[in-house]
């Protein structure tokens, strides 16, 4: 397998991964898939995945997520309860609850789906909207449902709907858009950040597209088209001329060749590797697939998750865990639960408050998750999750969890944790060091396991996904 990105054959890269003697389909690879497609998996879930091929698993993941996107799980009743308080911070705890209690199975009774939540998080960062400015939990919730409903669906529909989403319009100062003074904010962002990327439009295109959106307003928390304020004149956008409405303006943007490449590039960065920016020849096959499938996201996701590139050393351990992946991943892999209100606060402190992205560009991700301040905060978060009075593992504690997983000796324990929690395994020397540390530790077994995991979290590779 080539290590130079420029030398990677795109056909090889996006062909389905076939396990071999050199790279068998094992728990470590399955854990990699679950970390990227969701927020990790328990030991038992990993074992179940090994009964199918990687391609079948990726297919099932996508199909289950698609089915889940059309269901109203019981957590929506939880959302209703959270909304009654009118606080978007409570809504953030609700979303973490969904992520944590999601299930890989396609069972109708399952609460939520990890891939669906992961993609909703991706779109939340893509169509970034901050609750601080919107200041209305119900609108943030409505947008979140919109993103989830279309997470694996047609990107065109998502963009059309998000363009009329009250939370988005409030966030981009577009609650009133009069023909005398077209507001260019949304027109700029839809081209620069949501669909095309820089260099694929001109300032003139922005001004003309802004004219299409005139008459679009938000009144009493709802989208309203005010025909008297709409500019019915002729506009020229991205080479097309006509008396376009807002919807038609969005359609013109959606038709651009740059769009599938822009989206495919972002999906590669989110699911495969942080750095470097994917070369064009790797993006092109996915962009082609996206266009051919009428901008449907599901086939692209399935292609990525089943691919050779995804299971290669160019992808494994080549992403920095986001704070949410770190916290929810730790709890999920260890079958844990905790006070999610508290987790929301801690995530805020280390740079990822859901519903509160830093700006319209969303979270930068990658190396930006780590700095001197967040590094300590991340370690403290792990420590607090492990020791907080409300945290339970396997319904009880870490000793119970280890026992239920048949993990007995210190060596088995370190190996087991290494396999389910780490993308890049520890060296033998590091493993021996951890075993020795565990043996020398005092206190009850749960406490010693907690200290062991906390120690593991201080090693840089713990923060890689």
């Amino acid at each position: 397998m080539p290590q130079d990105f420029a030398a990677i054959d795109p056909d090889w890269a996006w062909s389905p991964f076939t396990p071999s003697d050199e790279q068998p389909w094992n728990r470590r690879l399955a854990a990699h898939l679950c970390r990227r497609a969701g927020f990790g998996a328990t030991s038992q879930e990993l074992n179940e995945l090994l009964e199918r091929s990687p391609s079948d698993v990726a297919h099932d993941f996508v199909e289950n997520a698609k089915a889940a996107s059309q269901r109203d799980p019981e957590t929506d009743a939880l959302a209703t309860a959270m909304l009654a308080t009118g606080n978007s911070r409570n809504l953030a705890a609700w979303w973490l609850y969904r992520m944590l209690n999601s299930s890989w199975t396609g069972d109708e009774s399952s609460t939520t789906n990890p891939l669906l939540e992961k993609l909703t998080l991706f779109w939340h960062g893509h169509f970034a909207t901050g609750a601080e400015k919107v200041d209305d939990a119900e609108m943030m919730f409505a947008q979140n449902r919109l993103l989830r409903r279309h997470a694996l669906g047609d990107f065109g529909t998502t963009t059309q709907e998000i363009s009329r989403d009250p939370a988005m319009l409030i966030y981009l100062d577009s609650t009133t858009n009069r023909k005398a003074h077209p507001n260019e904010n949304y027109a700029r962002e839809i081209m620069e950040l949501f669909c095309l990327g820089e260099g694929n439009y001109t300032e003139r295109d922005i001004q003309e597209l802004a004219r299409c959106f005139t008459g679009w307003e938000v009144r009493r928390k709802k989208f309203r088209f005010n025909k008297y304020q709409h500019d019915t004149g002729t506009k020229t956008i991205l080479g097309e001329t006509g008396t376009f409405t807002g919807e038609e303006g969005v359609d013109i943007v959606l038709k651009q060749k740059a769009l599938p490449r822009f989206i495919a590039g972002k999906l590669i960065r989110f699911f495969v590797f942080d750095e470097p920016t994917a070369p064009e020849h790797l993006i092109d096959p996915l962009a082609k697939l996206l266009r051919e499938s009428n901008l449907n996201i599901a086939p692209v996701i399935e292609r990525i998750l089943a691919s050779n590139l995804f299971y290669s050393s160019l992808a494994i351990g080549q992403k920095v865990r986001s704070p949410i992946e770190l916290a929810i991943g730790l709890l999920r892999c260890l079958n844990g639960s905790s006070n999610l209100d508290r987790v929301v606060q801690r995530l805020d402190e280390i740079g990822q408050a859901v519903f509160y992205p830093p700006n319209v560009k969303g979270w930068d991700g990658g190396r930006s998750w780590i700095n001197t301040s967040t590094l300590l905060g991340r370690s403290n978060l792990v420590g607090e999750l492990l020791r907080h009075e409300t945290t339970r593992f396997a319904g009880q504690n870490l000793e119970t969890l280890a026992r239920k997983n048949g993990v007995d000796s210190p060596g088995e324990l370190v190996d087991w944790l290494d396999e389910i929690l780490l993308a890049v395994p520890f060296t033998e020397a590091a493993t021996n060091e951890l075993v020795s540390l565990f043996e020398q530790a005092t206190g009850d077994k749960s406490r010693r396991i907690a200290e062991l995991i906390h120690t593991m979290s201080t090693v840089p590779q713990f923060h890689l996904a």
Partner: protein, 590 residues
């Protein structure tokens, strides 16, 4: 040496026998001693706590419905099946075998004569006197327990419990933690000197005891029925010794605390002593504080709290069938507001001055302290009712109880007009704020109810919200101002205002109580109000504790079940029979 040995041995033997006989004689004498614990305590003790029948208390608690309910819970089953508890049971069983009694019999026997704890200022010592109902069993059990402890200490390489003699009585332990058995008494103290005083009293008979202390004797006489636990504190001596500096402060920075307990502080600055009595029965738990009280002690600036001649009495709570909580007080708030300079510190006075200016503007230039608050009578009530949403649409998702302020108007005819105008201005103000925040608007209306005008305002739902069962929080409210006779009601809902008007006409409901402050909580209605929001409570638990819906629902059900075991709670402040009495009571279903 050999020649003298028999003589020496004989002398030693005689001495040992004599000492043993003396000890045995002394113990026999002590066993026959019928004096109570308070007759053994020095007269200068500052605080005494007595529990005369610990056995009865334990019986009440273990046979209580609440305890039975707790025992049925899976959490209880889980707790008693954990290894730590099982180890405890094993140790208990071993001790029971060694002492020849089950734990309950041992508890009843060893503590059955009562427990008395006292603080003695001269020695700065605490002493506990525990009287057994069977002196022999107390002796044997103590010896067995001491031996068990010593064996355990030796096995762990620790120093066994030391002992020494004091006037033929064996005293165990080290300095600052000693105990001795003297007849039926187990004496435990942290000061040797105090311990010796008690043992001397036991052996010699005390000349004077706390029983002869005048303040103590007066306090004891005032006990009507026998409390489960009774305590007495010589507050006068504590104050004179400068040990209650907190009571010397006249001013506070907290108006709420002043309103609630200002009068109590006045009393504590003068009263010679305070008693606390705890009564525990199957039906209720009642904690009563009492202190001598004289109206002359009340400073001029606190007369707003007690009323003229100290006879200020709150209205009987205007409770209706749906009242969860009622707080009825006698407070001349206008007087408190105008005397703020005497009652509050500089910072709070600055805050109150600002508030006064703003409120005066809000009330169209009328002086807030003198004209507005002055228009209200001193008997004020705050009431909280459970709302009935059965026939109401839209129903809010979060269902809050309604609440109201009720009182009397000094000059009803004139003040009603002012209040109505202010109410209407306030609703207009809410509408402006609501419009800015995208909230629903209030629609004002006037209703006639029992020949009284009711000024009300209702939120107007959006067309798609009219039939909602999960509407916004605003739909819990329909602010209302109502009048009946000389009374006024400012209620959060029209329904509650009407209920209060009904209650005002109900002679039974307005029957007077002699309390200065009366608070009543209805546990059933509180449970019902919580049950109205069960989904919210379950959701909060899921998020806060990371529980599944089932786990969370189970926990909330348990909370509601436990609440259902209670009838309610009450708190009263009264000045009666030369005493200021505070009583907190929790009523349970048995």
């Amino acid at each position: 040496m050999i020649r003298h040995f028999p003589t020496t041995a004989l002398l030693c033997g005689l001495l040992t026998t004599a000492l043993a006989s003396t000890n045995a004689w002394a113990q026999t004498e002590l066993n026959a001693d019928q004096r109570s614990a308070v007759e053994l305590l020095p007269a200068s003790c500052l605080a005494v706590v007595e529990m005369r029948h610990p056995d009865q208390l334990l019986t009440t608690l273990t046979e209580h419905n609440v305890w039975k309910k707790i025992k049925q819970q899976p959490q209880y089953t889980a707790a008693i099946s954990n290894p730590g508890y099982r180890m405890f049971l094993g140790i208990r069983s071993h001790i029971e075998t060694q002492i020849g009694m089950k734990w309950r019999e041992a508890y009843d026997t060893l503590l059955g004569g009562g427990i008395t704890v006292a603080f003695h200022p001269e020695t700065e010592g605490l002493v506990a006197l525990v009287r057994s109902t069977d002196a022999a069993k107390l002796q044997s059990t103590t010896r067995t327990l001491i031996e068990l402890g010593r064996t355990d200490a030796r096995s762990k390489g620790n120093e066994p419990l030391p002992e020494e003699q004091y006037r033929d009585i064996t005293v165990y332990g080290k300095k600052n933690a000693r105990f001795a058995i003297a007849g039926p008494w187990l004496v435990i103290t942290n000061k040797d000197e105090l311990g010796k005083k008690i043992l001397d009293s036991l052996l010699d008979g005390s000349r004077t005891s706390i029983k002869d202390n005048e303040k103590f004797a007066t306090a004891r006489k005032s006990i009507n029925d026998e409390p489960t636990i009774w305590s007495w504190v010589d507050l006068g001596t504590i104050r004179d010794a400068g040990l209650a500096k907190g009571l010397e402060k006249n001013q506070t920075e907290n108006p709420i605390a002043e309103l609630l307990v200002g009068g109590v502080l006045t009393n504590l600055r003068k009263t010679p002593y305070v008693t606390a009595s705890l009564y525990v029965t199957g039906e209720s738990t009642r904690l009563q504080f009492a202190a001598p009280h004289e109206n002359e002690w009340v400073e001029e600036f606190r007369q707003y709290w007690f009323g003229p001649d100290g006879n200020g009495v709150a209205d009987a709570p205007l409770e209706t069938e749906s009242t969860i909580l009622s707080i009825s007080t006698y407070r001349k708030v206008s007087e408190m507001w105008l005397r703020a300079g005497d009652l509050f510190d500089e910072r709070m006075n600055d805050e109150l001055a600002k508030a006064d200016a703003n409120l005066t503007t809000f009330f169209a230039g009328k002086d807030f302290g003198e004209d507005v608050l002055g228009a209200f009578g001193p008997a004020l009530q705050i009431l909280v009712n459970r709302q009935n949403f059965e026939d109401v649409l839209p129903k809010p998702a979060l269902r809050l109880p309604s609440f109201a302020l009720a009182g009397h108007l000094e000059n009803a005819e004139e003040t009603q007009t002012e209040l109505r105008r202010t109410f209407q201005s306030f609703v207009g103000f809410l509408n402006v704020i609501g419009a800015m925040q995208g909230n629903p608007q209030l629609d004002q209306d006037i209703d006639i109810y029992r020949d009284n005008k009711i000024y009300t305002a209702s939120f107007i739902p959006e067309p798609d919200e009219k039939d909602s069962e999960r509407a916004r929080i605003q739909f819990n409210f329909s602010p209302t101002l109502a009048f009946a006779k000389d009374r006024f009601f400012i209620a959060s809902t029209k329904q509650m205002a009407k209920e209060l008007v009904d209650a005002a006409y109900d002679e039974q409901a307005t029957r007077g109580e002699a309390s200065n402050t009366a608070i009543r909580l209805n546990a059933k209605l509180l449970g019902d109000a919580l049950a109205d929001n069960r989904d919210q409570l379950v959701a909060q638990n899921m998020i806060k504790k990371g529980q599944t819906r089932e786990e969370s629902a189970r926990e909330i059900s348990l909370l509601l079940e436990v609440l259902a075991l209670f009838e309610g709670a009450s708190f009263d402040v009264r000045t009666t029979g030369g005493q200021l009495k505070l009583q907190l009571s929790v009523q349970t279903k048995n």
